[in-house]
Amino acid sequence: MIWTLIIFSGLITYVTRFLPISKLMPKKLPNLVQQGLQYVSIAVITPIIINSILIDTENIIRIDDNPKIFAALIAIGVALVSKSIILTLTCGLAIIWIFEFLI
């Protein structure tokens, strides 16, 4: 079952990569579609971020006693200023470690 899903997910991923360079797709997509595609990354990734920071394994929203929220807010700030993935990673993890080991 899982292998089937892996193969199908692989296929659909490959199709999104090959289709636009395949000559099968119209050269110019409608403006609205083109616009929508620009929002896909943010629209899809944000829910995953929110879910992994706010929601615990029992599907309950956790605001109190949740250092991840603080670390995430700092990480957003660092990302906006530095535009650097590695700096964002380092600062975010450092804050979690400070909470884990010092507080």
Binding site: I6, R17, F18, P20, Y39, S41, I49
Partner: protein, 230 residues
């Protein structure tokens, strides 16, 4: 420039991005194990799908016992951004023989696109430019396989207290924060964030798809209203 120097430049220019890719791959390797995937499944996901965000989504949805068609549909939506990359690249790749396009399509990722698109848009063009994408793509592919492998087999030895899996949302935060460049994108961010909390109890883990689709439509709607006003 010769085929080899284009290829070499592609490889070299991708190397700085490895600093971000490597921890991400390791975190994916660890996540794969925790999601109930076998070592082989986790490892092969990195070559069969070969797209970080999609693999993370895949593993998380599998761990949450999501129905198969929702898993594949969600992965599909996550991947729609490749279409934009392909449209941009097709200007340079469309005249290549089919076997080249079949190969290069497999190597189109956020990172390789960012690096090779820069090269393609330079003034000094030639007929060997696709070797640049081959170089950047293969370099990323290799390090993605190695880091996944490390995550799977060395991940056990990394103590839980280091919270290394937190590298995943942190990488995502960086990706999203860097790509919010105008008001409609900011709105898409806020709407999808709010909706994901509101819809967290939807059956079958539909929260990703539903939040994303509504947020995309809000973004389109808002940016067109802005245009009309201007």
């Amino acid at each position: 420039m010769s085929k080899f120097s284009e290829f070499k430049n592609g490889c070299i220019e991708l190397i700085p991005l490895q600093i971000g890719v490597f921890p991400f791959g390791i975190a994916f390797g660890i996540l794969g194990n925790e999601s109930g995937l076998t070592n082989l499944q986790t490892f092969l996901l990195s070559s069969i799908i070969f797209a970080g965000v999609s693999q993370i989504v895949f593993a998380q949805l599998i761990a949450a016992l999501t129905p198969g068609f929702i898993v594949v549909a969600t992965v599909g939506i996550v991947n729609l951004r490749h279409i934009l990359y392909g449209i941009t690249l097709s200007e340079y790749l469309k005249n290549l023989p089919l076997k080249w396009r079949l190969l290069l399509a497999y190597l189109i990722t956020d990172e390789a696109f960012a690096i090779s698109q820069k090269r393609f848009s330079e003034k000094k063009k030639n007929n060997n430019m696709h070797y640049h994408l081959l170089g950047s793509g293969l370099t990323l592919w290799t390090s993605w396989q190695i880091s996944t492998f490390l995550g799977i087999f060395v991940g056990h030895f990394i103590p839980d207290s280091l919270n290394l899996e937190f590298a995943i949302p942190l990488s995502f935060i960086a990706i999203v924060a860097i790509s919010i460049k105008d008001k409609p994108k900011l709105l898409v961010f806020v709407v999808s964030a709010l909706l994901s909390v509101i819809f967290k109890d939807l059956p079958w883990n539909l929260w990703i798809i539903v939040s994303a689709i509504i947020a995309i439509f809000v973004g389109i709607f808002f940016s067109n209203i802005r245009k009309v006003k201007q």
